[in-house]
């Protein structure tokens, strides 16, 4: 099968972020970057499908400045055959622009499956995958936690709050990958060396006009200090009262 996986470069989410002087981006100094977690699952899922089902091609695509080549090469070192960078000075805030550029790239690619992560772990919009599906007129299964592909059809499980859905669709299709799918393998050292020799094409991203822009970024408010209501069994009654009346969690 020919599978495309759209991947995003994101900062390590364990970091304590600072806002850059522009006020509309995080300060990149000292940040470490990696593939977005769900995108890593998506790459792994594609690789395993092609490993199991015989000859195929996994193509990874990322939109952004040249630094995204690092994540593309990571996916190549995991085993993807080919990479495409859709070059842009920055990753737009507007998911629609991104989807437009990706759809233009994917349209005539002859892909059986197009994978995305459920959402990017940094911006958490979860919009690009469904928008691309819409533009290409393809079925779209979102937040998929298990996937079966056979004779031109897909069956996917979507784990919801308190229930699960099983959906069936014809290929080609767009699937956004959630937890539950296999975790990304460690790039092997041989894979890292081999990745250097694999094709990485660079094309200008056809973003079009941005319909949504980022005005301002803020850090979440500092959490107020905790309050100690007393010690020992004597404090329980007061604690329960406060959980009822103030915190309203009971």
């Amino acid at each position: 099968m020919k599978i495309a996986v759209c991947i995003k470069r994101v900062p390590d989410m364990e970091t304590r972020f600072r806002i850059a002087a522009s006020g509309t981006a995080v300060d990149e100094a000292g940040l470490k970057y990696d593939l977005s977690d769900f995108d890593g699952y998506a790459v792994e899922t594609a690789l395993q499908l092609n490993e199991k089902q015989g000859p195929g091609e996994t193509v990874v695509i990322s939109l952004g400045p040249d630094v995204v080549q690092e994540q593309l090469r990571k996916a190549l070192s995991m085993g993807a055959e080919r990479a495409v960078q859709l070059k842009a000075d920055r990753v737009p805030t507007d998911g629609l622009s991104i989807a437009r550029a990706l759809a233009a790239e994917l349209k005539d690619g002859g892909y059986d499956l197009i994978f995305f992560g459920r959402q990017a772990v940094d911006s958490a919009n979860a919009t690009v995958g469904p928008m691309v599906a819409e533009m290409l007129g393809l079925p779209c299964a979102t937040a998929v936690s298990s996937l079966d592909i056979s004779s031109g059809r897909g069956t996917a499980r979507r784990d919801l709050e308190g229930a699960a859905e099983i959906v069936d669709f014809a290929l080609p299709a767009v699937v956004t990958i959630d937890e539950g799918m296999p975790r990304a393998r460690y790039p092997s050292l041989k894979g890292i060396m081999a990745a250097k020799k694999k094709p990485l094409e660079v094309r200008a991203a056809q973003l079009g006009d941005e319909s949504l822009t980022l005005e301002k970024m803020e850090l979440p408010p500092e959490r107020a200090a905790g309050r100690i209501v007393g010690e020992g069994p004597g404090a329980v009654a007061e604690l329960v009262r406060l959980l009822h009346t103030e915190a309203k969690v009971l």
């Binding site: 000292g30 690092e70 460690y186 790039p187 092997s188 050292l189 041989k190 890292i192 060396m193």
Partner: protein
Amino acid sequence: MQDFFDIDSVLSEEERAVRDSVRQFVDERILPIIGDCYVEGRFPREIIPGLAELGVFGANLPEEYGCAGLNNVAYGLIMQELERGDSGIRSFASVQGALVMYPIFAFGSEEQKKHYLPKMAAGEIIGCFGLTEPDFGSNPSGMITMANEQPDGSWILNGAKMWITNGSQAKIAIVWAKTNGEKSDKSIRGFVVPTDTPGFTAKDQKGKLSLRASDTSELVFQDVRLPKDAILPKSGGIKSPLMCLTQARYGISWGVIGAAMACYEEALAYSTSRVMFGKAIGGFQLQQQRLAVMLTEIVKAQLVSLHLGRLKDAGTFTPQQVSFAKRNNCDIATDIAREARRLLGANGILAEYSAMRHMANLESVYTYEGTHDIHTLILGQTVTGLSAFT
């Protein structure tokens, strides 16, 4: 830890990718279990397949033998990351790659290379390296293990080796022995000895207080009969095992930086969270002095090993430069581990933290592969032209 001197900027993207992949493996697969392994005195064999899949064994040897074909800087970074986990894990990889695969690669026949190297890279054959003897440690030239050639071309091996890492779990041992009754160290040759050969026994050494997550064994050879093709044909003289040690010492110079980094990171995190006398202990000058020295020595050691790696890749490095790096880096790492342990107060003696485990481990690393003193003598001889060994 923070890359204070932006050393990443002089590493290639592949070098960083190699390091990051091994780092992630160590974080996820080794750090969660290593404290318990250490206390139990157990080498975690379960991680061998994972390490092999990553490709760490003999990673700087060529791809045609199933290895990753990395440069020496990438190889060094692997050692750094493994030892950030534990010196025992790095020792395992050093022995497998630099002390068993390397001599087969450098001194072996094409058949030996084709037969052993791919299986060793895949972790299917584990090896050990037998040079040290009970009465000959720093002076291996004095060894008494002897191999005598028989009329049919086979060999009979007699003797004993001690302190052999991986000895009891190895499928093959590279044994260094004098040959045909000659006392001169020129007669020393290397042999590939399958450990299931009759007359070969390996027994784990008990009571170690260092490198507890590593097997260390005594090997005994009693009339071990070896086929003609067990000898490493291109080995000859004490120079051959010393060439292996140069490879391993290079990796050690990187490895111990990893142990030091782990200790520094742990000490730094503790210093900002542990409050005593009303403030974080990291706010006291005494602890800042500790942390500043640790940081300085780690960065210096990294720059030494990195430059040495570039020289090694250029083919111009000398064994004396390797002695310099092994000596300095082991020395600062042992000091850093001890200072980190002290900064941690009573918690510093627990296996739950890593400082004391690293501190105890590094005493072995300080001693093996040429003790600190021996490397001092090598440097002394290099600069004065006078030998102080005897």
